[in-house]
Symmetry: C2
Subunit: 384 residues, 2 copies
């Protein structure tokens, strides 16, 4: 009986929503984009072309199969557009089925919307559970958008794409007659982050709360995300593609995967940093693996990470002794993790992602003697 | 090639883990329990008997079908046991398949382990992704447990059960020869919480971070969880079962579902509170719905909750005017939500759950002029 009522309601909603959809104008980031799609947060944007991948085809045979596969995920990518529409819809096709036990679908395969205030600071726009799944097609609806005073003529939005799925096609729909225009990424050198599943986007509650997306919002600089879940092993080929990018800074955060490589940690990190330094003077930040704070009852497990971190620090000292300059180091203790920072002991939850972001942002500030303060949205911080 | 290697590894792990499992002793909370199972966090423990439900059979025809169905979920239930085992396994059978888009599996269907220090404060024990699913059977493995100084002879553990699934059967396994004993819930009147999906356990990253479980850990008092996802409508029958419980305090938090009931909010809340007051002098706390902080761009959506809260406050004032004493009120603004507090605009994430817990704990302290401070585990707090 309850179920029948639910179906009746669903049917009614479909009847209502069909004509609404028909009144929308749909915009793909591949429409009228010239030879470069309207996609933010990626390197080689023109060369990569009309897809949502992160590595050019010419790396297919060079990097490991795992890295190549994961480079198809849209982690850290976003769309930027302006509109004055009262309703915004987002429709996309997912490349992969299935999910992850340690992440909400809304994070691994969902999108997350933010709108800019008059000063450019980005503020969250909740979806209030208005999503619809049909096979591999997803639709989010943001209705009754209200525009703050002074922004009634249109505002800028940022839509974060799914960190753990491949997006096959995406369109943004606005009311018929509403203004709409995609915008390109800000003209600024990006911060390039290389790392594990944690950088890849595990496990905050939604894409906007991935720490690399927080860093981009709050530093005001673009971030290019090279998180490769379970596959951050600092192979030489990885540093080949990193070295191609004209970066503001390189951040190397591979230890959550590389921790048990022993001597190889020192060797690969040193070779990699030197390769980057050959082509770039940009500051390089080496980040330790976070250490889970369940040390009281699981000391041995935590020591695995501690030992990996020690070898990474060894590499840092060696590089410094060899005269490499512009090198920075973020020890695990500066992340200020608590017993509530992780979902299972490997991946940071919302707390842990905020703590990662704060630790990164503090170092980035040091690296540049202060930075453009952006964001300003009401945000949660974490302290012990 | 990679896949074949993975299968080889899996096969090896199975070979290793099979004899390990064989050496375990398994303990059900229904074994040697007399006429009352070793289950914590529920009312009518004896009457309910050998299952993991939250309402006695005699309420089946009284409450709505939805409330009855949801009363089978093990939200807020936990096991308490002591052991000195180096390995702890947890094996259970799930009653329901499928999941939720706005919650990680690890929360809705997972378990979460905490161990007590010498003073009784509970500390998180991560599972470090050692879970195994086979059909509807789940197994978690916590290996290499380390016991802090002074607790080598055994310690007390608390295992939180899945908030959004039915547990059909559960056993805790320890090393052959290790000490093991289930313990009953502390002899203390419980705090009884009635509410929506939020109380039911949506959407922190894991069960231990559900705000009702945080409140139990940090107040030192048992909490009985009557969260009914999407079904907290303050029907008279609900107050019938609440009134049966000899509670330390009643907390009424139904507005995230009841917000659009209009006049009925005032009527049902007043009738309910009076029913409780007839049988109990325990303090009663009325809690407003949290208001999503995406107000800048979704003002209208947020006003729905604001309007519901207004009617709830009307009920509070009316009850006070009618001479009802021991009544407390928690306005939404005291939750100190930020734009990062929610997963989609309806359910609090890890930040929001911590903020709920802090707001509840502050009021509970007021209600009892201070309380037994427990916990003390390293924890994350949130500020604006």
């Amino acid at each position: 009986m309850m179920l029948r009522k639910k179906f009746q309601l669903l049917f009614l909603l479909l009847l209502i929503s069909a004509p609404l959809s028909a009144q929308m104008q749909w915009h793909s980031p591949f429409d009228d984009c010239g030879d470069e799609p309207f996609l933010c947060g990626r390197a080689w944007n023109k060369e990569l072309g009309l897809n949502f991948h992160r590595l050019p085809e010419r790396y297919k045979e060079k990097v490991t199969q795992n890295v190549w596969g994961l480079s198809q995920l849209s982690a850290g990518l976003s769309l930027r557009f302006t509109t004055d529409s009262k309703m915004i819809k987002v429709k996309y096709v997912l490349g992969q089925k299935g999910g992850y036990l340690n992440m909400a679908w809304l994070n691994h395969s969902g999108v997350d919307l933010y709108g800019a205030d008059a000063k450019g600071g980005l503020h969250w726009v909740g979806n209030h559970m208005e999503w619809h799944l049909s096979g591999d097609t997803v639709e989010f609806t943001y209705r009754d958008i209200s525009y703050p005073k002074g922004l009634e003529g249109g505002t800028e939005f940022r839509l974060y794409l799914p960190p753990y799925n491949e997006v096959k096609n995406i369109e943004v729909g606005v009311d018929n007659g509403a203004k709409f225009a995609y915008k390109r990424e800000k003209r600024a050198k990006p911060i390039v982050v290389y790392g594990s599943s944690i950088v890849n986007g595990a496990s905050p509650s939604r894409p906007g709360l991935m720490f690399t997306n927080i860093v981009a919002r709050e530093s005001g600089w673009p971030v290019v995300n090279f998180g490769f879940s379970g596959s951050a092993f600092m192979e030489p080929e990885v540093f080949d593609f990193l070295a191609e990018i004209d970066a503001r800074a390189f951040i190397l955060d591979p230890i959550p995967n590389s921790y048990n490589l022993g001597d190889e940690i020192v060797k690969r990190a040193c070779n990699g940093v030197k390769k980057l330094r050959k082509v770039s003077d940009a500051p390089i930040l080496m980040v330790e693996a976070e250490v889970p704070l369940d040390t009281m009852f699981r000391k041995k497990r935590c020591m695995d990470y501690v030992n990996g971190n020690k070898r990474f620090y060894e590499a840092y000292k060696k590089l410094r002794a060899q005269g490499i300059t512009g090198l920075y180091y973020l020890p695990a203790k500066e992340m200020n993790f608590t017993e509530e920072s992780m979902i299972e002991g490997t991946h940071p939850n919302d707390f842990g992602n905020r703590q990662y972001a704060d630790a990164y942002l503090k170092k980035i500030k040091e690296m540049f003697n202060g930075m453009q303060a952006r964001g300003g949205a009401s945000r949660a911080r974490v302290r012990k």
